[in-house]
Symmetry: C2
Subunit: 470 residues, 2 copies
């Protein structure tokens, strides 16, 4: 086809799309047979890609062959039943189907008029999610790409409110989060223009929860120094060990003192769809904003973060984008979501929420989250019954932190780093490590559609085998 | 399946994925028969979605039926051959195939180790794109979701550099862009914490290009007032009428005075893949950063913005995210793209670039861009030959602005707003309007895979018919 003007050939697409559909189905079927993490050294994939772009076109056959030969062996398989790293980044059949349709449609959700169904379905899905996690109607939802962006949106809105209401310089604002907050929180505060030295990471207790005495002391010190506390970001489910900040108490403090309270419930928020886990969001009704990620634990493909905010006028004051080309006669009666976040262009993300929630129903999603929590506790019980291991923190949220106790004067961090390395080198399961209170720990995170009790038993057996062999 | 734990059923997925593949192929085949913009009033779609989430699961048949019945009639079809609105937001067969695979894989590109192939393919594709538009090797590329985010990234990096190097308060910084800059530019400056009153929108000449005398005067006034000029955002291809700021001259000024120069070439940057259009990026080698959107005019699905930056150390100083859980032994030898932008989590966007550039080859993409530019000039020639129309600005970049001249004391803005409304109400083609130098104009934007000369002839015939009938 070299030099010819490309055309939209629906029948060629049909042929290739069927092939790709089969490839994905085979991938799902065979996933457990892959190495979880590739055995790749830096540059190994890059070396296989020509340094210059091709002048002429290549056949679909050849591209699929190269995809299989070059790309797939270089991937970490996040939906592998042996993937227990970082956080679950779920994909699921109905979500992939919706993503396929979204790619084919290629519509824009920046304004209501640029695809009314995209905006209205998003409003409906955010209402469904709000009800599912038990937030009151005082919150309005909008999809953001990631929790990083949602938290940045909250911080910028809080910043602008403080500057406008109090007439203070941005240079005097301070932001508070716990030392266990996700890296995107202090980063977000810096991106919002808060001075790096005025982002306070508050010490946590032994459950990885923010210490109220330390928070209040930090605020008092700042006020004394002439600084202006602006926002607290409370974490529900820390990345390290699913610790939960005392949201209700922080909420009262924020209400009394006029601070913005943003809740980062990126992973753990999904647990609130279970009546018996609703307590994780206790006090969240006091917040100004909250984010949780259906793309983590609700079977929705990345990216899809649910951002809920109380004061949509303040949000639009900070994020409104006006231009003649964007105006429409319906503007006073509709939501134009370009005014609710950073990006002007917006993918049609609501469709995958609709497909997933309808396919499984709330009860199906509840059954899955409940099962993952059960598996987490089961794994914790196995650890607790083996005297070689020490378990750290809670195991209530499908994430379990542990380490080898070690004997005598052995370097405990070193033996645990070594154990993690040896586990991951098997390629059969994948865990991440982190540091809690200065101690290196291994961390097993559940939450995928593909992981069952049998897989977890295999993981436990593999870990024990490696310890026995060390 | 109510209450059961959902499982990853590869064969059920296979069945449904084939059905969806056919749906998309049919959609491509039948696209021209749809209304471009739906005949929907606010709330019409929302009313068809139950207010509460379903407790039980729904069959795939029913979900696809509802998709077809509720969602599709509420969409604006951005890839319709009659869509000439806003900007082209392309989809193309190889890009959709890649998006399908990416959804199925569900991998994360936040760090090299979280999927080495995602990072290394991204580096390779950004090098290909850099060469395709003729930027020197002094630039390093990274994918951002949208130009809004990329421009915000540039502004935050520039802001942090000014604060660090000059030891000034953020409150004294000023940012410059033309009055025709995209809404995301002044919005981005405000989001970065620049005082709203210190974002200068510089007047343009009659080609919608920033006036250098006005830029220099604004900077001089600001310096005199004790403010600190920080960044100029130059536009290559304004959203309204594809005007081009004098980049080379602005670049010299920025070099002399130590300002950051960011180039927003979101739409028009793709034209630089043509040797005969390379001039649109003249002077861009002087810039500190540049963004253009392969998702606009290079057949790559939204979202995919190519951000090129000279000083990657400064970028990572502003956007670096550190946390123990993110550390890896290879960190000193690899790029961890979470440190190159706002979001921690990152989709595997490089795959669609690879599929698209390889499928068509550079020559295929060049042929397409060349054809769209030819069609733009052809449409301009039709307008120029009809005395009822006046053409505004250039027609060199596949976007043509025009309006009815009107007769006597008629309200020219009113008759043109009315013409636009009547054009779009037909549902057969879709244009957007904008205001240039105080005058309302209609704007026809080309750039889709599906639009041919025959479609453009139909559009012209329809427009002339409506004028004749008014």
């Amino acid at each position: 086809m070299s030099g010819e003007v490309p055309r939209l050939d629906s029948e060629e697409f049909r042929r290739e799309a069927h092939r790709v559909a089969d490839w994905i189905a085979d991938y799902f079927r065979d996933l457990a047979g892959y190495r979880v993490q590739p055995d790749a050294s830096p540059g190994a994939i890059a070396r296989q890609i020509p340094a210059q772009p091709p002048r002429e076109g290549t056949s679909p056959d050849r591209i699929m062959e190269d995809f299989q030969r070059i790309v797939v062996p270089g991937l970490t398989h996040w939906n592998h039943p042996g993937f227990y790293g970082y956080f679950p980044a779920n994909t699921s059949p109905p979500s992939v189907l919706a993503e396929m349709l979204v790619a084919g449609l290629g519509v824009q959700g920046m304004s209501w008029s640029t695809s009314p169904a995209a905006t209205e379905l998003e409003q409906a899905m955010m209402s469904w999610l709000r009800q599912m996690i038990g937030l009151p109607e005082t919150f309005t939802g909008v999809i953001q790409d990631t929790a990083s962006s949602a938290t940045l949106v909250a911080l910028i809105t809080a910043r602008d409110r403080s500057i406008a209401d109090l007439g203070v310089s941005i240079d005097r604002l301070t932001v508070y989060a716990s030392e266990e907050a996700n890296s995107s929180v202090p980063k977000g505060a810096r991106l919002a223009g808060v001075r790096p030295g005025q982002v306070r990471l508050i010490p946590t207790d032994d459950q990885a929860a923010m210490r109220m005495d330390a928070l209040e002391a930090a605020m008092a010190r700042d006020r004394e120094a002439g600084l202006v506390p602006c926002c607290v970001v409370a974490t529900v489910g820390t990345t390290g060990s699913t610790g939960i900040d005392p949201v209700a108490t922080i909420g009262s403090l924020c209400r009394e003192t006029g601070l913005w309270l943003h809740i980062d419930a990126a992973f753990a928020g999904s647990a609130a769809i279970l009546p018996e886990m609703r307590w994780v969001l206790e006090g969240a009704d006091q917040a100004d904003s909250l984010v949780f990620n259906p793309h983590k634990w609700l079977l929705v493909n990345f990216d899809c973060s649910a951002y809920f905010v109380r004061d949509t006028v303040a949000l639009r004051r900070s994020f409104g984008a006006t231009a003649e080309i964007l105006r429409n006669p319906q503007d006073d009666r509709v939501a134009n979501f370009r005014d609710w976040g950073i990006q002007l262009g917006r993918r049609f993300r609501a469709l995958k929420l609709w497909f997933v929630i309808r396919s499984y129903g709330v009860e199906g999603l509840q059954a899955m989250v409940r099962e993952h929590i059960r598996l987490g506790k089961l794994f914790a019980s196995w650890l607790d019954s083996d005297p070689r291991f020490e378990r750290i923190g809670t195991a209530e949220l499908a994430t379990v932190c542990f380490r080898l106790r070690g004997e005598g004067s052995v370097d405990r961090d070193a033996i645990n780093r070594d154990l993690l390395r040896r586990i991951n080198e098997t390629g059969r399961i994948f865990l991440t490590g982190t540091v809690l209170k200065g101690r290196f720990v291994l961390r097993l995170a559940l939450g995928h559609l593909s992981s069952t009790e049998a897989h977890l038993e295999e993981a436990w057996s593999l870990i024990r085998g490696l310890v026995g062999a060390s």
